[in-house]
Symmetry: C7
Subunit: 97 residues, 7 copies
């Protein structure tokens, strides 16, 4: 059974959203329209610890859809699923419909 | 439908202003007169978080016309539109008529 | 007899968990399924000392199962056992069943 | 019509003083006597924002004649005029008659 | 006669423990079992001076057995004895029986 | 007419002292005895601005004879005179008879 | 006549102790026994200025015998004597009989 990961400090565990490469009807989508590098937040750490020993809360929360930087992040494999860990301040923004 | 991006920390979402390459009457403009690298602010983050856990407000606001640095910024594609993300302190100034 | 190591500052002494390379029944496991770089916390330091001379407590505690970065850590040999020392903030997260 | 630029943070907009290369009477001046790299301050930002969220006032003000560093500064073209943006703390000093 | 060295700031004077290369009975020990890089603390400085002008006490004390990093430290020769100076925060931990 | 330069922040305007290469009586001095790199302080800035917005006073004052570092400093030409600008904390010490 | 140098900030003026290369009786000493790089403190600066504008006192005082790092320090020649300037925190320790 896959273990559950609780990130430390200001780390954020993200499951990348793989954009569909073809429509439901089976039509292939051009690469251009699949470019957005986004993910769903699975778990967040308690925040970075400031030198005054308080925690700086993380800017995103579990369930958020986030825009990720093109590079960076640490790949983590839990069971059959692949996740990525990002530092809170490397995440570019949150995405909303 | 295009998603809406809410920038994190002190990031600023900018839509670049493409300078007209010819006048309304169709006369081509020399490259020299189109040099200013400017954009319109679409959305701003809540500000960088200081170590005392307060937010440092972003220097620009939605709707501002801003002067951008020649290099830098992260390209973001939302639907058919192309935007750029800048850190608040990389924006050079605001432009006014 | 092996000596006992008490880490200084925010260092964490970890015993790496060697994933089984075959099942109890003797079937070889593919390398892919053994990838997670984890360990058990054996001892933690008192925490980094802030410039205000207070200690910033370490984020993990003795007995925690932790996710380790792919690189880094200092190998330490005590008696016949091999351990690794990590800085508190290099540890990626804690693992739970 | 040229736009007006309001610098952000501790940036200073400067119009460089082009030293005359010949006297009013038309006598060419040797390069040596035209060496001083100076400019007139056109506009200043509100100041860099300290981590305590207060502004650190800029050391020069509009109208000041300033001594500029040999390198650095960002060229900005507004209408037909060419300006340079400097960080407040890159300006070497103010010049007085 | 050898001089006595009082370290400054957060420096720690250490005499390295040379592991025996053979047993008391004269049997040669394999290199592998002699790997631990440890030393005895001879003297410690008053601590690094914080910007608030207070001293941050050193984490080890005279007489401690310490685990040393593989690289670093400054060799010091006092009389016939060879010592090493380390910064307090380069020492990995204390060793106990 | 030469302009007067008022340095900004913690900058110090120095006129280098050119050591005599021969005695009053005309005897050439060996290069070795002319080595000291010193200068006279012509003007000092108000001091570097701390993040708490106060000024940190400059360590030297107008008229001081100072020992200069071998490298560094920015050459400034005002009228026919050549000066050098140094940062306050690059000046090594003051010289007294 | 040689000038007197008053160091600035946390600089320390040191006269290096040249170890005798032979005994009083004229016997040459092996290089090994002359290795200690020490000096006598001639003058100290008032201390580095903290951002809160207070001075951090220098750790050594005039007359102290100090252990110097192998590299670093700025050579200064005053009259016929050769001295070295060190930053307070580059000095390794004080030596006592």
């Amino acid at each position: 059974m896959a273990k559950r990961l609780v990130p430390l400090l200001n780390r954020v565990l993200v499951e990348k959203i793989v954009p569909p490469s073809k429509t439901n009807a089976g039509i292939l989508l051009p690469e251009k329209s699949t470019k957005l590098n986004s993910g769903k937040v699975i778990a967040v750490g308690p925040g970075a610890r400031a030198r005054d020993r308080n925690l700086i809360p993380v800017s995103v929360k579990e369930g958020d859809t986030v825009l990720l930087p093109e590079y960076g992040g640490t790949e983590v494999k839990l069971g059959d699923n692949e996740y990525h860990l990002y530092r809170d301040d490397d995440i570019l923004g949150t995405l909303h419909d």
